[in-house]
């Protein structure tokens, strides 16, 4: 790669090392996160001295005006003086940039690849500003990806397109973090769009309905199938633990004998691969039968002699409570679906045991709509479905192709141990995905706005991180500690990133890149983007019944007032 047409923008300062150097920048010639090069000589493997281009990223820029004393600032502040009116110099600012070295390329290399730096940059060298074509060429050439996917542009240069390696993305697990509104969903939508272009199957666990837009925009993806499911899970004997946890958490806390009884019920009632609610109702009926038998027989009956009727009664009541809650949640979900039925066709989730191909198939994006479900049932649903699909991938005759699971609200469904919610079934499930998923081509993408509350094991297994704006100190610390891909400067800029700006690090890129994610406005979901409460109120019109109620309320208030007067 020749550097004939690269402009000189600065000079390397006196002390350099293998990893970084400082340089004096000409005003306004580059910015933070920009790519710069400097030509230097290094010894090659044969003892020859070769000239190379050393590539680096501007990690930080410090500006100082040594001729602007503090006391002058004090006077200006107190007296409301504009520096542009005074003789104080403003044109001699010193701009010192810290450059983190990314590697070097050989000068005549047509498909340049970054090699690790082995010798420090020479002080006093000129620092060049490579043109955007060359930067893009280097990034794509160095990525060396079979399936590069377009994510956005380099934050410092909006004419340099950034691509990431799709193979690493779907196989090595990804963590997308950032505070609400920072650009996580925009990024995930971008990735989904690109993977759909590659016909890669995906399953999105959509807690808030952020991805429903895809369904409506099916026409943008004519070669893909986009399916929208609502939960309906059949339970099997293997799911016994999950059901047990669900009952324990959703119902009343059970004593040890009550738990024993519940276990007995779970062992005796046959898992008929029906829905959870149906199965729970079977448990209740069975238990009721036992209780009736016990009550109808005389003392000394040998039907579960060690269990008291009161214990059975409490367990029954608890099971009823669980069923009631689940039905409520199902109804809430149904109401949400009903509200959006004019826009979307919701399908009942097919049985993953018998028809997994209806959920995971080539070119299909499946969205499981979980709105309305509380954490535990949602976790149970996600866990049961994921385990079933994973099992299919483990089988010798794989029934479904490799796929990517996308999990929203990661900190809720796979919380850290410190959250004391480790009984959530999704934690174990996703730990298995994280550690063994690569073997069976099951990738995961975890999305969270509170990464410090995520399960550490799963987070550490995510080999690529997409970090968006974070103000929370704990979350910043988490990123610093769990991601070996980032430089300190990358983490330091997290609080000040704008919407859609993020740092990508890990195996999907060769070195951390600050990017502006491409915003797919054609995938916006108008029906869901209803956070504009004020407009909603402005457009609000009471229903007829409410109007009538308000109208007659005045008459009724007169009656009650006259009645009160008489009483007084």
């Amino acid at each position: 790669m020749k550097n004939n047409n690269w402009k000189t923008i600065g000079t390397v300062l006196g002390e350099t090392n293998i990893n970084s150097y400082l340089f004096m920048l000409q005003s306004f010639k580059a910015k933070k996160n920009d790519m710069v090069t400097t030509q230097t000589s290094i010894p090659d493997g044969n003892g020859k001295i070769i000239k190379v281009n050393v590539w680096g990223k501007i990690a930080n820029i410090n500006c100082s005006n040594e001729w602007f004393p503090r006391q002058a600032a004090q006077e200006m502040a107190f007296q409301n003086i504009n520096i542009e009116d005074t003789p104080l110099p403003t044109s001699r600012d010193e701009l010192i940039c810290k450059v983190n070295i990314l590697g070097y390329t050989k000068q005549d290399d047509k498909s340049p690849k970054l090699l690790p730096m082995v010798y420090p940059v020479k002080p006093a060298n000129a620092v060049n500003y490579p043109n955007s074509n060359d930067v893009e060429k280097l990034l794509i050439s160095d990525l060396n990806s079979k399936h590069p996917i377009h994510i956005g542009t380099l934050m410092a240069r909006d004419n340099v397109e950034i691509k990431i390696d799709a193979d690493s993305l779907v196989s090595r697990h990804v963590l997308v973090t950032g505070m609400s509104g920072s650009g996580k969903t925009v990024m995930v939508r971008r990735i989904i769009s690109e993977l759909m272009r590659l016909h890669f199957p995906m399953l999105v666990y959509d807690i808030h309905g952020d991805y429903l837009g895809f369904v409506k925009k099916q026409n943008i993806f004519p070669k893909n199938k986009i399916k929208l499911f609502y939960p309906s899970l059949s339970v099997k004997a293997e799911d016994k633990e999950i059901i047990y946890t669900l009952i324990n958490k959703l119902g009343k806390p059970l004593t040890e004998p009550q738990n024993d009884y519940l276990n007995t019920l779970l062992n005796k009632v046959k898992f008929d691969e029906s829905s959870i609610i149906k199965f729970l109702n079977s448990l209740i009926s069975f238990s009721k039968g036992l209780l009736d038998t016990k009550n109808s027989k005389s003392k000394g009956s040998n039907t579960m002699p060690h269990i008291k009727p009161a214990t059975m009664f409490v367990v029954n009541r608890s099971l009823n409570q669980v069923v009631k809650k689940l039905v409520n949640m199902e109804n809430t979900n149904a109401r949400h679906r009903q509200r959006m039925s004019k826009f979307y066709d919701f399908e009942k989730l097919p049985d993953a045991n018998t028809e997994p191909e209806k959920i995971i198939s080539k070119g299909q994006l499946s969205i499981l709509y979980l709105r309305g479900y509380e954490t535990l049932p949602a976790s149970a649903i996600v866990s049961i479905l994921s385990e079933t699909l994973f099992k299919h991938r483990q089988e010798v005759e794989q029934q479904i192709p490799p796929f990517l699971s996308i999990l929203e609200e990661g900190h809720t469904l796979i919380p850290s141990r410190s959250e004391n919610k480790d009984n959530l079934p999704t934690v174990d499930t996703f730990r298995k995905f994280a550690s063994e998923g690569r073997k069976f081509s099951c990738g995961i993408m975890i999305i969270s706005q509170r990464p410090s509350r995520l399960d550490e094991t799963i987070a550490s297994q995510c080999n690529s991180h997409f970090s968006f704006r974070k103000k929370n100190q704990k979350d910043q610390r988490f990123v610093r500690e769990t991601s070996e891909h980032y430089d300190a400067e990358d983490v330091n800029q997290l609080p000040s990133l704008a919407n859609g700006q993020g740092i990508i690090g890990g195996q999907v890129v060769n070195f951390p890149l600050a990017v502006q994610v491409k915003f797919d406005d054609n995938l916006l979901n108008d029906e869901i983007g209803d956070e504009d409460f004020i407009t909603a109120v402005e457009n609000w019109d009471d229903k007829e019944s409410v109007k009538l109620r308000k109208k007659f309320a005045k008459d009724f208030s007169k009656i009650s007032k006259s009645a009160q007067k008489r009483l007084n």
């Binding site: 003086i81 003789p87 110099p89």
Partner: protein, 429 residues
């Protein structure tokens, strides 16, 4: 009762003296109060105190269209054998914020070729703490002439300037340079400093500091814009003495009162700064007074063959501005009485207020930093010359170990004196 031993105790003596000396201090204060109140009356009588308006938010937007130049010199000197200044330069900072111009120039630079080596005095000093008088004089002459040269440079290039400020006096006291044997400048240096000066057949005297500086001053005095020298401190009492002299000449004060007051000022070493620090309030200034800088009261202090020339030096107008309550007033010098006294002094006040603690024109602070010869350059040249000197001695078979060179290359000359340190003889643990 104190023992004889305690009488000899140094600490007790010191404390005793401190307590008793308060009488001396109060006496000094009495004298100061009397001198200051008398001076205040005289200044008021002559209407010499002016109040300057300081309203920066209104002043600066109007002043931004002025082109203002600030000039200063920077000097680097190592203890070379010939002891002349190694490098000197004068720089300017010319600014016009309305035109968005900020120009930093160093038009005058010299490296070793300032003084004529044929007439050089080789006065290498072994100990920096005892600098030879001649070395100090040469350093001062180098600084003064390059700064004056920079002013001349601005005048000759006919750059449009509204106000020019020099860091330091507009005219230096010449007595140090009239000593016999003071080296003249080289032809090259003079051509750089004042290109209009006679170019052919310059004698040694023509190249002497007194003549060259005088030529510069003639041009500076006739500059098309006001040029002011600004000093942080005034260690002399020239203003006070000249004022008293003027009153004596007018017959307002008697010869006896004049003589006694001058005696008191000398005896108590009272300077203009001491007096005006007390008299002036914040934002007040003293109108400039014409002063014969080289001779007080037409009395030649030191006779030399340069006296006739020195008499040709123009008088200087000296004024003071008190920028704030906790700093001494700054001294303002010019060759001509300011045509726009209030405007110019208001500018100086405002530009000094931009450094409220230092109370000195910020532009001069900027140019001072700009022309300073950096430490790394001084070190590099020192190292280069050390190596050169050592090689010269080593290559000469006839010379044995040379303590002079070793002294020169040692970090500090005094380390070569081998004076035992306090810790000497201590047992290492």
């Amino acid at each position: 009762m104190k023992s004889d031993k305690s009488k000899n105790n140094l600490l007790l003596k010191y404390m005793d003296f401190s307590i008793n000396s308060s009488q001396n201090q109060s006496e000094y204060m009495n004298v100061m109060v009397n001198v200051c109140s008398t001076m205040l009356n005289l200044l008021k009588h002559e209407n010499l105190i002016i109040d300057l308006n300081y309203n920066p938010s209104e002043f600066w937007p109007k002043a931004k269209n002025k082109t203002v130049a600030f000039v200063d010199g920077g000097l680097a000197r190592n203890n070379l054998f010939n002891s002349s200044p190694l490098a000197i330069r004068a720089g300017s900072y010319v600014v016009n914020k309305k035109l968005k111009e900020e120009a930093f120039d160093t038009n005058l630079k010299f490296v070793l070729n300032l003084f004529d080596k044929q007439n050089e005095l080789f006065d290498f000093i072994e100990d920096e703490s005892f600098e030879s008088l001649m070395l100090t004089k040469k350093k001062d002459a180098a600084r003064i002439i390059t700064e004056a040269g920079q002013l001349v440079n601005h005048i000759l290039t006919k750059r449009k300037i509204d106000l020019l400020f020099l860091h330091g006096p507009i005219q230096a006291v010449l007595t140090p340079f009239v000593q016999e044997g003071f080296p003249p400048f080289t032809n090259l240096a003079i051509q750089s400093i004042i290109p209009s000066y006679k170019k052919k057949n310059m004698s040694v005297d023509d190249r002497h500091f007194i003549n060259v500086y005088h030529e510069c001053i003639k041009l500076i005095k006739n500059a098309p814009y006001p040029i002011y020298g600004v000093l942080e401190t005034a260690i002399s009492s020239a203003y006070t003495r000249n004022l008293l002299y003027a009153f004596k000449t007018k017959g307002v004060i008697s010869q006896k009162d004049y003589d006694e007051t001058i005696k008191v000022i000398k005896e108590y070493r009272i300077t203009d700064n001491n007096i005006f620090e007390v008299i002036l309030k914040k934002n007040q200034a003293l109108k400039p007074l014409e002063i014969q800088k080289q001779f007080y009261g037409s009395k030649i202090i030191q006779k030399s063959r340069w006296d006739e020339k020195i008499i040709e030096y123009p008088n200087v107008f000296v004024g003071f501005i008190k920028v704030n309550d906790f700093q001494s007033p700054i001294r303002i010098e010019s060759y001509n009485y300011p045509k726009n006294l209030i405007n110019d002094f208001s500018y100086i006040l405002a530009v000094s207020k931009l450094l409220p603690s230092y109370s000195y024109p910020v532009g001069l602070h900027v140019v001072d930093r700009f022309v300073k010869i950096p430490q790394w350059m001084k070190k590099a040249s020192k190292n280069y010359w050390s190596t050169h000197a050592l090689k010269s001695v080593m290559n000469n078979q006839k010379l044995g170990p040379n303590s002079l060179v070793l002294k020169y290359i040692s970090n500090k000359n005094r380390t070569w004196a081998n004076r035992p340190k306090n810790s000497g003889g201590r047992i290492e643990k």
